[in-house]
Symmetry: C2
Subunit: 543 residues, 2 copies
């Protein structure tokens, strides 16, 4: 069987635009003699459409788009993801569905049966679960259709626990020849092999090939990797679509097995972040970015990512030294800008800093300098970046990493300024790892940026290690607590930490919820990011 | 029957503290010869506990607290709201339950059957729905127990549509003598009579009295009004607990009907906002607030609310005039501070403003002043407020209203600075209404603040009406679109608006999602607030 996976990069709410991409896929399929085109989950709206789903005119526009697609499927069938109305008396007003189009007719809908409502997913907010998995006849071909989560519980683990139903189980012993899965399965480091493993279990247990079409592209915090694939009835990979790019990929169940070149994990992470930046800009109509270059590793990494995503002509670096900045920091920023071939403006913040200190002196008389004065500097920098943003229509890129965000080692309205927090889901260790990977062939990030001790340079001789535990230790505990969801007791069993240290870190994470609530949206690349999918109260007494 | 409603104000995650309040209620009940104490929904954790529910040690602490309560119920029974483990093989790991304690024993649990997952609610993220409504024997008394949402579909309307089950319907024809409802039902303007109406339909249909115990207090954006009550079997109010304050209220089903003094809607709104501020500070251990006093109505209203909530000794006003501020503005700020008897610092922002303009001049050469320079002023003010916050441990109160937030008529990191956005869910019209109510007996907010035309004073002769439609018109359209959920077409049918105006407003609302994403948490007082319960993507092409 020849299936074309339309691994499209939809824009949320651009129903016409997304529909055009699907029409284009149908044309391409005809050329390539495919029998059926499949799309990602909710392809007509883009995933996740969030509360637009509650708007009647939005759903009407989806229905209109579907109507326009039906007559275009006379030669090639189409399985297209979309929300559809639930006309039953009770229940949520929508199903998360696949419309099945064949020979110019709408055969019907396969509704998603399992609705993820955890982490970044809130499908129970909008959808009623489908009742059963149907068998669909495309001429004499019998195909089963699942939507994303529907195949996951059969793979075991925590997913098996959540749901009472297992759609794959109910399809056993039927006459299916192929199982299709429409997905909008977001990326995190290491996700793709897990997704393939889950699909392979379905393939093996049903003893049929499985083809999965996944959304690609960045939508706010979420990055979708695409990586659509076809597995044979033994669950082995026959062929796959590229990761992190839009593609129409022809999958032929008769093809031989493929041997894939393996991608380095850093290469994958780099591609994910680049796509996240690219789409945040392109889909909102922006071209240019600016960012503060401190000479430190975080801003250096963000600059490299931005240049790859937006082009060097669209990235402006701004060095904003203060009385506490070392000359080496500015040199490092200059060297980086030279390596990346981007313009660098250098603006000393001494003038406004002095003006603020003078203005506040009578009010702060007799009180020693503290973080107030440190924050002033970070906020002046934020203001300058925002002035460039306002004046030239640039988006400010925020350079904080996950370790800093966790600990509140950042200034609200200072370095937390920005339209997009590019590396906010990378621990400091990952920031180093990815930076070294960037430098694998030539020095792009200056060597001294990589080797010097991290410092915020907001007071004389300041080092991150004055305020924070060593990053190696901190990052491990952060991952255990935030991503793995371990309790303090379980973390203590993992490593040789002091109880006080673990308690202090966990306390600080929750204490700084208020800062993160006002942080820019950040690109999600881990299983649990701060930016989306993690809901904690600001005011609480548990930690 | 004599029931004591423990209308407590729990702190999220303060399991021991919340448990102590319940123990205290049991003691009080014994004194008052009550037979049973009832609490709000999830009383042991506070509502909403959010992702703390996913933590094993959190649930273990709830279990421990419940164990400590059991032996204390030898003389007075207890129906207490708490999360409990779901031990079944499949499904979410918790139920949202009521533990039923009687004669020193745990009789069992009544699980919440209907789990709201819309607006501010996300209960399907954590809980599995309960299977049925049981009849509970307290000695020879037969009592039915429902949890919040469980009684709502029976009242009809949109709630009847969502759920296939109606717990009240299943209790019809049983031998129940009393129906209990544990609630954590958040306040919005006009909510209390709706809640009573829904309960009265249950009372009438079951022909038994209904007693409802609702949580009171502010938890981040959500304000709970309490207003617990007892209705007789005709659905008439026998007695009610106070609104917006903690109370142990004895409800006696044998009592005569009560005639209640009616509260003005403005009085109610004022009390709600005051409670929201009070709890945000008290529960996070803060005492002092500062805010910018511009001489305008928004900051004047916030100052009045803050003084009532925190005491005049804990509120600092800061006037920050610029070259564009009129002398009248500073006079109005001074007069307000005098009326409220709070200190006022006056700090001209000219110094830092000039310093920034000078610093940026070479970079902005040849480009006319625009919003960049306006935003600089707002951001300098934000920085000064944050400096006071950092230096003196004050929380900055943000003074933006809902109309401004909707239109993006505010400066990110400028007037959007703050720990709490007090009036962010009030339209400009409501800001005027509440301010006039505050001045009902004497002039607290200066008359000229109430009568002058609104202006941001960020450039010469600026007026809000230069950039925004008249507030009367704007606010109506905003309420129609945001709170009523009407489409543009439906809005056009409501009033004599131009199609362009409605389109432009709706477009601006969505365009400014990015600013609101970084706005401080705001107190929710409407059916649809920006701060919580409204989920839209930043990057989208629908509007």
């Amino acid at each position: 069987m020849r299936i074309l996976a339309a691994q499209i990069n939809p824009t949320i709410g651009d129903i016409q635009g997304n529909c055009s991409k699907i029409l284009h896929a149908l044309e391409e399929a005809e050329k390539q003699k495919a029998e059926i085109v499949i799309t990602p989950e909710l392809a007509l709206t883009g995933y996740p459409p969030e509360d637009f789903l509650l708007k009647k005119d939005f759903i009407a526009a989806v229905e209109k788009a579907l109507s326009s697609l039906i007559p275009k499927t006379k030669k090639v069938g189409l399985i297209v993801g979309l929300p559809r109305k639930n006309l039953a008396r009770h229940g949520k007003r929508l199903f998360n569905s696949a419309a099945v189009l064949w020979e110019g007719k709408l055969l019907g809908y396969q509704d998603k049966m399992l609705l993820p409502t955890y982490d970044v997913f809130d499908e129970r907010r909008y959808f009623e679960p489908g009742e059963k998995s149907l068998i669909w006849n495309f001429g004499n071909r019998k195909i089963g259709i699942t939507i994303c989560e529907d195949i996951w519980p059969h793979g075991g683990g925590e997913f098996a626990e959540i749901y009472a139903k297992d759609p794959i189980e109910t399809l056993k012993g039927t006459s299916l020849e192929l199982l299709v899965n429409l997905s909008a399965s977001p990326y995190h480091v290491g996700k793709s092999p897990i997704r393939q493993k889950v699909a392979s279990i379905a393939a093996i247990d049903l003893a049929i090939p499985v083809v999965l079409c996944n959304q690609v592209g960045g939508n706010d915090s979420l990055i979708f990797d695409g990586s659509s694939f076809l597995l044979n009835l033994e669950g082995k990979l026959i062929s796959s679509a590229p990761a992190f790019e839009e593609a129409f990929t022809l999958f032929d169940t008769e093809s031989a097995l493929l041997t894939l070149p393996s991608k380095s994990p850093w290469e994958e992470l780099f591609a994910a972040l680049v796509l996240g930046i690219k789409d945040y800009f392109a889909k909102s109509g922006f071209k240019k970015a600016c960012l503060g270059l401190s000479g430190g590793i975080d801003s250096a990494l963000v600059a490299c990512l931005a240049v790859t995503a937006l082009g060097k002509e669209n990235v402006l670096g701004i060095a904003m030294p203060s009385r506490y900045s070392s000359p080496e920091s500015v040199q490092d920023a200059e060297e980086l800008a030279k390596h990346l071939d981007i313009p660098l403006r250098t603006i000393s913040i001494e003038g406004p800093f002095s003006a603020f200190l003078e203005l506040l002196a009578p009010h702060f008389k007799g009180i020693a300098p503290d973080t107030t004065e440190e924050n002033l500097q970070a906020r002046i920098r934020g203001m300058l970046l925002m002035a460039f943003s306002n004046k030239f229509g640039m988006i400010v890129l925020s350079c904080g990493n996950k370790s800093e965000l966790a600990m509140g080692y950042s200034t609200l309205y200072g370095d937390l300024c920005g339209g997009l927090a590019v590396i906010s889901d990378l621990t400091k260790q990952q920031v180093y790892g990815l930076s070294h990977w960037i430098n694998r062939e030539q020095e792009i990030i200056p060597e001294s940026t990589l080797t010097k001790e991290p410092t915020a340079e907001l007071k004389p001789n300041q080092k991150d290690s004055d305020s924070l535990p060593p990053y190696e230790l901190l990052d491990k505990i952060l991952v255990d607590y935030i991503e793995e969801g371990l309790s303090k007791e379980e973390i203590l069993q993992q490593g040789n930490y002091s109880k006080e240290l673990v308690s202090e870190i966990v306390k600080k994470i929750h204490l700084n919820e208020y800062k993160r609530r006002q942080a820019p949206p950040g690109l999600r690349v881990s299983e649990k990011a701060f930016s989306k999918g993690r809901h904690f109260p600001i005011v609480q007494k548990w930690q």
